[in-house]
């Protein structure tokens, strides 16, 4: 039995022989015996205080002495009232729990900005309000009545005595009219989930009031839109937007959503906005370990599909969008905004080993030594630049070569060194590369080929051509490839890539690559 449960049972019930022995064993420790006595005194005072507030009647006894006693108690209470009335308290938020480096328990903040990337802290204000904050977060504690959440997730529980509390966000402000809510500031919108009482969301030209059990997403441009209620916004079962922004998907192309197995249902609200109004229909199909686990009905472009997928025992869930009919097979759907909100499942987004847009060493005018892909090859004299690297298109970050040189380029060689220090590589489940390549690519990790794209099987040399031309539109798509996890090493790793043209003298080439470990 827990220590405090044992103490409570001592005060409210009869302890069994074994429980008495257990209690005596605990109390052998002098400090615990002190704490037990304090617990009794504290409980006694707690009940007295609760009774004094909730009981309006005082029993007056017949004895004069008792009356005198009561007068003394009353005098003490009046004195107490004066003390409390004239006591001024320092307004601040105190950190009462923290697992964030450099934010220690007991620290006090007011008119301060808090920023951290990982971990959680709990703040308690002088008013008794609690704010739980989860990194990554950017939060300004302006005053006890107003805070400014620029990024991140908070959970707020106000004390009964707090009359006014407002949270400002980049997308609107939230005025609490009750007691508890969770608030998340995402990139292009904020979402609120009300746990208790009422909350008022204020936008420049719109106001919405929510009550307990309701939730909403809000932004100045799109006003209000309904989202799935999440009673545990702050906890592990965090609602997540898995994909926001703009992305082009070809029919049949897959989006990988790697989820942990703690949840039971993946609830998805898909909001798809297509760049062109077209008459077509599509389905959403989910696969786990190559097996189909979910197939939606047919949706049209104007539908706002909502799907629920059981995730029991699902490890790697892949959602594939398939055009059912009405759209040519080589068309591209431009999805401008797709939010997939999970409930009860927290997506594991993996560890980024090489981020998209990273800096790469490269060479293109001459063929390097044959060991150019090895880990210990010296590429210090190579040029360097950030991805997307290439030529022939406007949106290239690092343009390679001059106009004349480009006409003769057949291959471009890339190298990127990266460190693996705090990853448990033996327990990795998988590694995935997202490759952007126009036209073909041969990819090595630490000197060993790990995959090739748009290239023939067998031996490859500098005269090899890519199998097909990557057309406009297709050259913008990142392709997914699985990488053997045993090719990764602790410490320094080198990823080497050689890019191939379909034909010599092509008008464009481009390259970027991201690697994630799960």
């Amino acid at each position: 039995m827990k220590k405090h449960d044992l103490y409570d049972k001592f005060l409210t019930d009869t302890l069994s022989e074994n429980e008495e022995k257990e209690l005596l064993e605990v109390l052998k420790d002098e400090k615990k015996a002190d704490s037990f006595t304090e617990y009794i005194i504290e409980t006694n005072m707690m009940v007295s205080a609760a009774e004094n507030i909730d009981s309006a009647t005082i029993q007056i006894s017949k004895s004069k002495s008792e009356i005198r006693s009561i007068v003394l108690i009353a005098a003490a209470m009046i004195t107490l009232g004066f003390i409390l009335f004239f006591t001024s308290f320092k307004d601040s938020f105190e950190v009462i729990s923290s697992d964030v480096v450099n934010v220690t328990e007991g620290s006090e903040f007011i008119d301060k900005r808090i920023e951290f990337t990982e971990g959680e802290i709990t703040l308690r204000s002088s008013n008794g309000d609690h704010i739980k904050v989860k990194g990554p977060v950017d939060l300004e504690l302006s005053s006890l009545e107003e805070i400014n959440l620029r990024k991140g997730v908070i959970s707020v529980k106000l004390s009964d005595s707090t009359d006014s509390f407002e949270v400002l966000t980049p997308h609107g402000s939230v005025k609490d009219l009750g007691t508890a809510f969770g608030l998340a500031v995402r990139e292009s919108f904020s979402e609120i989930h009300v746990y208790d009482g009422k909350v008022q969301v204020n936008l420049p030209n719109a106001i919405e009031t929510l009550i307990a059990g309701e939730s909403i997403a809000f932004s100045p441009s799109k006003k209000f839109s309904s989202i799935a209620y999440n009673k545990n916004l702050f906890k592990e079962e965090l609602a997540e937007t898995l994909f926001m922004g703009e992305r082009e998907l070809r029919p049949g192309e897959q989006m990988d959503l790697v989820l942990d197995t703690s949840g039971k249902i993946l609830k998805a609200d898909l909001k798809l906005e297509f760049s062109k109004e077209q008459d077509f229909k599509y389905r959403i199909i989910a696969y786990s370990n190559e097996k189909e686990v979910f197939k939606s009905k047919e949706f049209s472009a104007n539908d706002k599909p909502s799907i629920e997928i059981p995730t029991t025992a699902i490890k790697d869930l892949k959602i594939e969008m398939k055009v059912a009919h009405g759209l040519a097979a080589n068309s591209i759907l431009k999805i401008e905004n797709m939010s997939l909100i999970t409930e009860g499942v927290r997506p594991y987004e993996g560890e980024v080993l090489i981020a998209a847009g990273s800096e790469w060493k490269y060479i293109f005018e001459t063929k390097p030594d044959k060991n150019w892909m090895e880990q210990n090859f010296d590429s210090s004299t190579w040029l360097q630049g950030n991805a997307v690297l290439g030529f022939g298109d406007k949106d290239i970050s690092t343009k390679i070569g001059g106009y004349e040189l480009r006409k003769t380029v057949k291959n471009i060689y890339f190298r990127h060194e990266f460190e693996v220090n705090d990853l448990e590589i033996n327990s990795l489940k998988k590694m995935v590369a997202n490759l952007l390549a126009d036209d073909g690519a041969l990819v090595f990790l630490n000197g060993s080929e790990i995959f090739r794209y748009n290239l023939p099987d067998g031996l490859i040399d500098e005269d090899t051509h890519a199998l097909k031309v990557i057309s406009k539109g297709g050259e913008m798509i990142y392709k997914n490839f699985s990488i053997p996890t045993d090719s990764l090493k602790m410490g320094k790793n080198v990823l080497s890539v050689v890019l191939f043209q379909r034909r010599g003298k092509s008008s464009d080439m481009r390259f970027d690559l991201q690697i994630k470990a799960y």
């Binding site: 005060l11 015996a33 006595t37 409980t43 006694n44 009940v47 007295s48 205080a49 006693s69 003394l72």
Partner: protein, 175 residues
């Protein structure tokens, strides 16, 4: 004994009330009875002040409370089989907590607690009373408030922790 001396005794009694009633509570396991016994003991003190040695009113009061509490248990056949080892330990501990410093400390804590309790939700206050005073089980309280047993346990532990924090802050901020 002058009247002012008697008043001085009464003042000591009321200053030590949080600890002395807790002492009675530890014997009787009944919060309401503990308050009554304390009140009876103070009345006795007032009536018999001339017999009490000037330097030991607290010792006298504690001993009267103990006798009255045990007498009550005997008459009402409640908790007759008190664990002697536990009783001795609590006697020693309460003797320590009845020293001047502790009395002053708990007097201040009691004052602060009264204010903090007012900030607690009425439902939480009621749960505290139901559990510790009325001695209802968490399950029964849960049925009353249409909450789970665990939710009631949580209310109890959170209320205690909130009150502790509030008291600490109030004492720190006292001028």
């Amino acid at each position: 004994m002058s009247l002012s001396r008697n008043s001085e005794f009464l003042q000591i009694a009321f200053d030590s009330r949080p600890v002395l009633t807790a002492y009675a509570y530890s014997i009787l396991k009944d919060w309401g009875l503990a308050q009554d016994i304390f009140q009876d003991a103070v009345i006795s003190m007032n009536e018999k002040h001339s017999e009490i040695q000037a330097d030991s009113p607290l010792k006298w009061l504690k001993s009267v409370i103990r006798n009255k509490a045990i007498d009550h248990i005997r008459k009402n056949e409640r908790n007759k089989n008190r664990n002697e080892q536990l009783s001795i330990l609590l006697e020693e501990k309460f003797d320590q907590f009845l020293k001047n410093d502790s009395i002053q400390e708990y007097k201040e804590k009691e004052n602060a607690l009264q204010n903090c309790m007012a900030k607690l939700k009425p439902e939480s206050r009621n749960v505290i009373i139901d559990f510790y005073k009325t001695k209802l089980s968490c399950e029964k309280i849960g049925n009353l408030y249409k909450k789970s047993t665990n939710a009631i346990r949580l209310i109890l532990s959170r209320s205690r922790s909130d009150l502790r924090y509030c008291v600490k802050k109030q004492l720190e901020n006292q001028p």
